[in-house]
Symmetry: C2
């Protein structure tokens, strides 16, 4: 499929329009027709740019959103080299999900597209990169003598990822952000002790 400049623009418009839609208001089911209406496109265009239909489109949107997740945590996530930096990172995560509220674009995508290999790959890749940043942060803190050597960086980073994911999930279902805060605060406290 050779794309001209116009074609690329349209394709991008579809992805970003769909992403914005998911971010603003997460209906139970997102249909191709919703996306078509919102992005001002036609059925023909959607299937022209995403020949495999819904799954391919949703996966593209998911990749787009996955990129944002880590970007929104920068530059803090990439430089967890002091307790102050950890605090700023913690705040940025809380702020991000507080702003997002109950609408979780990635979550919505996942529940639509199901457990296809492509979908799990997108999420796994995101979680891996995320965890790796945290792990690096812990290791740097250890090297600086700010975290005791007994802490297992990889395992603790995994606990962070789990805590954040669970906190976000509780936020999605109950609307309360306290669990996310509790998870982050408790684990940072664990590092400090």
């Amino acid at each position: 499929m050779a794309l001209t400049a116009k074609g690329r623009a349209t394709r991008q418009r579809i992805i970003e329009g769909a992403a914005a839609y998911l971010r603003s208001d997460e209906p139970a089911g997102v249909t191709l027709d919703d996306i078509r209406a919102i992005t001002g496109t036609s059925k023909g265009q959607i299937f022209h740019y995403f020949p495999d239909g819904k799954e391919e489109l949703f996966l593209a949107v998911a990749r787009h959103e996955a990129g944002r997740v880590l970007d929104d945590q920068q530059p803090h996530l990439g430089a967890l080299t002091s307790w102050a930096a950890w605090g700023r990172w913690r705040d940025s995560v809380v702020a991000r999900y507080h702003a997002q509220g109950r609408n979780c674009p990635l979550g919505a995508l996942m529940s639509q597209v199901g457990n296809t290999p492509g979908a799990t790959e997108v999420v796994s890749s995101l979680l891996n990169r995320w965890q790796f940043h945290v792990q690096e942060g812990i290791e740097e803190m250890q090297e600086a003598g700010l975290v005791r050597p007994g802490v297992d960086p990889q395992k603790t980073a995994a606990a962070f990822i789990a805590g954040i994911q669970g906190g976000v999930q509780v936020l999605r279902t109950s609307g309360s952000i306290t669990h996310l805060e509790a998870a982050l605060d408790t684990l940072i406290d664990y590092l400090k002790n």
Copy 2:
């Protein structure tokens, strides 16, 4: 709606059949017709026992499954009064979800029924009870002098819930149970330190 013994049995058969179906194999979308076929019932019966249709039925199944979640952790969850008890509880949680694998009946239900008030109520109620048991365990350990007084029982219990939820979610998408283990181990370690 007055139910005879036969009626009650049929209703229960529908709920348990649906629950078993979700537990054994979690398809992307569960239809009423699937449930009808599996439970050997007819459309008429389903709407006779669940006049509000799909949502009412799924909510009933969700409540049924939510009950199992805590039951499966007993008696450990109810008596977190020693480090050995905490270890047994940790193992029972890991074993339960390891056995369940990627199929999360409650998760499947939630992604189908969406964010209706009834659905959030079922999950919130489950999470609250769960968290309360953990909080009680922490408080008892503090009273026994086994956990330092500086630990905030409520907040730490919330972190446990978040960590478990996130660990299960990672298990669902990636198939790996390490995050769940990491979350539990790290938080228990936090209590011990």
